[in-house]
């Protein structure tokens, strides 16, 4: 009898990667449709990179949310914290004796402080993350309006230089109507995003903390029994998320150049939506940091598409809502089919 085992085995794709794959396919499809319908804008590289540059803060927040969600938690304070960071930086930079370096430290400090506070209450006192971060959101919103109510444009020369800085990619670009070559310009914020995605992907895949986080999100009771320090893992996931909110806040003000009460408001919900579309499961244990930018960009592409079509902007929200709903149904049906054995993305011979 021929041994079956000599057959080359293909590995079953993990749930995390499967959902990531679905997210990527959907994004490519979405962008493809956009290119076909509106070739004039979407066929330009600049449009794609603008999505990245102008929404860098949102993508960073989504990364943070993804990390917390992989650990089985949720953080709804991140939008408000980001907003608070922008205003604090603006006030500090405009105070006369501020510096760009100082404002970066300030941004990171505020983010980490929120992360530590919330993480401690959630992990060590075992309070529901939803409630704690809701309280954190109110706190950050309150602080924001207390510090400064009106829009505050930062005029400090060093900062303005940073704000206006662009990175030109000379070998990538499009011809304009006059036949001149316009190279692609990206904002430094987009660079921060790329660096963070790489660091976090590596971190979650190769670090002990990263793997423990997946275990805790998958089944925290088992994780405890397997000898993982569940509380510390949860705590650090929130601290990391807070840190990313701080970074996002600085990137936000670096892009817009002003502190404003409405900065980053509602970002937490977009981040949750982006994470889920990017293949993170709200139940924890499944997700991928590469999925976060894909999820966020998918949402943004829809909005751009609707704007390009000239439809009432209310439809943006409706479309996002429908897409999110559709995507969750898709996720769950794929995972359900997989559990019941009706869906196979693998070629493993039966081992029994």
């Amino acid at each position: 009898m021929e041994p079956i085992n000599t057959m080359k085995r293909r590995e079953a794709i993990s749930n995390s990667n499967l959902l990531l794959l679905i997210a990527a396919v959907i994004f490519v499809l979405m962008y493809g449709i956009a290119m076909l319908c509106y070739p004039r804008s979407f066929f330009q590289y600049q449009t794609f990179f603008d999505l990245f540059s102008l929404n860098a803060a949102l993508i960073i927040i989504t990364l943070g949310e993804t990390i917390v969600m992989i650990g089985g938690g949720i953080d709804i304070s991140i939008g408000a914290v980001t907003g608070l960071v922008t205003m604090c930086c603006a006030v500090y930079l405009e105070s006369g004796n501020g510096s760009v370096g100082g404002s970066i430290l300030l941004a990171l400090g505020i983010g980490i402080a929120f992360g530590i506070m919330q993480g401690f209450l959630i992990a060590y006192l075992e309070i529901q993350p939803f409630i704690i971060t809701l309280a954190g959101m109110f706190l950050a919103n309150g602080l924001l309006t207390t510090i400064h109510k009106d829009p505050l444009n930062v005029t400090m020369p060093h900062f303005v230089k940073l704000r206006d800085a662009v990175i030109v990619i000379p070998w990538l670009g499009t011809m304009n109507r006059l036949g001149n070559f316009i190279p692609v310009e990206i904002k430094p914020g987009a660079l921060v995003v790329v660096v963070l995605i790489i660091i976090l992907s590596v971190f979650l895949h190769w670090s002990r903390f990263g793997r423990n986080l997946y275990a805790v999100g998958g089944n925290s009771q088992s994780a405890l029994m397997l000898g993982i320090n569940v509380k510390r893992t949860k705590f650090f996931s929130f601290v990391l998320c807070g840190l990313l909110s701080g970074i996002a806040g600085f990137v936000f003000i670096m892009t817009t150049g002003a502190g404003n009460v409405g900065n980053a408001s509602g970002f937490e919900m977009k981040a949750i939506a982006g994470s889920i579309i990017g293949g993170t499961m709200l139940t924890g244990g499944v997700g991928n940091p590469i999925g976060s930018p894909i999820g966020a960009l998918t949402l943004l592409t829809i909005n751009e598409l609707i704007r390009a079509a000239g439809i009432n902007s209310n439809f943006q929200a409706i479309a996002s809502g429908l897409l999110l709903c559709l995507f969750i149904v898709l996720q769950n049906s794929v995972l359900w089919l997989r559990r019941t054995g009706g869906f196979k993305l693998k070629g493993i011979p039966n081992l029994h």
Binding site: R9, E11, A12, S14, N15, S16, H205, W206, S207, R208, F209, G210, R211, N212, Y214, A215, G217, G218, N219, Q221, S222, A223, L224, M225, L226, G227, I228, N229, G285, V286, R339, I348, L351, H352
Partner: protein, 500 residues
């Protein structure tokens, strides 16, 4: 021989339940020590006290002669205590290799390549049909169990705890596990083995410790404790205080009309098709060890598990019972085994808990008036002698026995024709036990048919006029009449077949 683990005077209570009371346990180097006891005897609690999942209330734990207590499973693990728990404690979303090694490494970074190699080696050496990079959730339950065991074995532990490791393994896999256990034993590892398969206990164990109702019954050499005696130790002899109630009058053995009849009933919980009949005013009982199918049989009758096959007649009429509500409407009540999770609704008041079943029957859109509910509650608080401050007291603040009475009251209020009581007396004090037993007999005289399930053989003998002995998920024999003794029952359980 040196004791690697020595525990004495261990007590542990949870709100409303005394899980362990003054328990001692010792484990030698290089022995397999079986921890035996019925459901709720405290085996799992004792294990979780050792591994630091629970903190003991009082008592002393000596590990290799030093007084230690672990505050978390990782501390126990670092010290060399490996455990395989009854419920598989692994992460389904991770790969097999990760499940084998996560939580063990001290390095900040994961070396995937080395981990996969080590995992492949380990899986190969134990002959486990799984690949390191496979996601755990795609493995069968038996393979997952083997992986949990492989992990514990690979840790080079000094003490290995196996809590029901064989429940999902087939005979061949069990033998493989036993070979491993013997190898580890030879290396000087102390193994604590929990199982409800008696044959396996005698095959592998050196010593046996028996727990019952959270109390230490005794420690025995396996070779000098016949299987028959082990069963009787686990099930318990009469408590002196309880023996005061006798069958007050011989239960009417005359067979009236059958209230409930089933032919070939089976459910998804794994109970083999069985035939069962109960007559009006009869008290019968399912008796057997944990895992024998006694609860599953009751759940199949009430359709608490999905019924697969069987023909059911209630009061002579053919019916199909698909869900508990059908059973309720036909006058069948079921008091579940697990009071905490299936019975009481802890935060609701005594009153609300009592009227719950009747309210369900009446329909939620036709609520009882407060006054009516109050009347119902007061009636049963009085007749069952429930000790509660008021009808509005949350049920969770009552003692275990009184909680149980509240659930019984809930069913009595619906005036059932047939009541199934699954372990109604577990974990409650002796006085209340007697009251509940008396109540069962009183109800039977009033014409209610009752199926009584209990781990305590004495209790069953006192209350039931017919005993159905379960073994390996089917009916092994039926005993009735005045002359049934503990010996008869144990003979059927331990040996199989009725005594000539």
């Amino acid at each position: 021989m040196q004791n690697v683990l020595e525990m004495s005077g261990i007590c542990k209570s949870f709100p409303g339940v005394r899980a362990l009371h003054n328990v001692s346990f010792s484990l030698r180097k290089g022995e397999v020590h079986a921890l035996m006891g019925e459901n709720g005897a405290g085996k799992s609690t004792l294990i979780k006290v050792i591994t630091g999942v629970y903190e003991k209330d009082t008592g002393q734990i000596l590990v290799e002669g030093k007084a230690l207590h672990f505050r978390s499973p990782q501390e126990a693990q670092n010290f060399g205590i490996g455990a395989v728990y009854q419920e598989i404690m692994l992460c389904p979303n991770l790969t097999v290799a990760e499940n084998l090694f996560i939580g063990r490494g001290q390095h900040a970074l994961v070396n995937w390549k080395r981990m996969k190699e080590q995992a492949a080696h380990l899986l190969h050496s134990l002959d486990i049909p799984a690949r390191p990079t496979q996601q755990l959730s795609s493995c069968s339950l038996a393979v997952q169990q083997m992986i949990a065991i492989a992990r514990a074995i690979d840790m080079n532990c000094r003490i290995l705890i196996l809590d029901e490791p064989t429940s999902s393994l087939d005979e061949e896999e069990v033998q493989k596990l036993f070979r491993l256990m013997r190898e580890l034993k030879a290396r000087g590892v102390g193994i604590i083995f929990v199982t409800h398969f008696l044959d396996q206990v005698y095959e592998i164990s050196d010593r046996i410790t028996v727990l019952r109702n959270g109390e230490f019954i005794g420690e025995y050499e396996a070779a000098s404790l016949p299987q028959f005696e082990l069963v009787s130790k686990m099930m318990g002899k009469a408590l002196d205080d309880v023996s005061q109630i006798k069958k007050e009058q011989p239960l009417s053995n005359q067979r009236g009309i059958p209230v409930y009849e089933a032919v070939g009933l089976s459910s998804t919980a794994g109970i083999k098709p069985f035939n069962f009949t109960i007559h009006k005013g009869e008290v019968n009982g399912f008796i057997g060890l944990l895992g024998s199918g006694r609860s599953e049989a009751a759940r199949a009758i009430y359709a608490a598990d999905k019924v697969i096959s069987g023909e059911v007649k209630v009061n002579g009429k053919k019916v199909k019972i698909r869900e508990p509500l059908h059973a309720m409407k036909l006058g069948i009540g079921y008091l579940p085994e697990d009071r905490k999770s299936d019975g009481i609704i802890a935060d609701l008041s005594v009153r609300e808990n009592i009227i719950l079943a009747l309210q369900v029957l009446k329909g939620f859109f036709k609520p009882f008036s407060r006054k009516q509910a109050e009347l119902f509650a007061e009636e049963y608080i009085k007749s069952l002698n429930i000790k509660t401050a008021s009808t509005s007291t949350p049920v969770k603040s009552l003692s275990g026995g009184n909680q149980q009475k509240v659930i019984i009251a809930r069913w009595l209020l619906t005036h059932p024709e047939y009541l199934i009581l699954d372990e109604p007396t577990r974990g409650i004090d002796v006085g209340t036990k007697v009251e509940i037993q008396k109540l069962v007999l009183k109800l039977a005289r009033e014409g209610v048919s009752i199926t009584f399930i209990s781990s305590e053989i004495e209790e069953m003998l006192r209350t039931c006029s017919r005993l159905i002995v379960m073994k390996d998920r089917e009916i092994a024999g039926e005993l009735s009449g005045e002359d049934v003794t503990e010996r008869d029952i144990m003979y059927v359980i331990a040996g199989g077949g009725t005594q000539p």
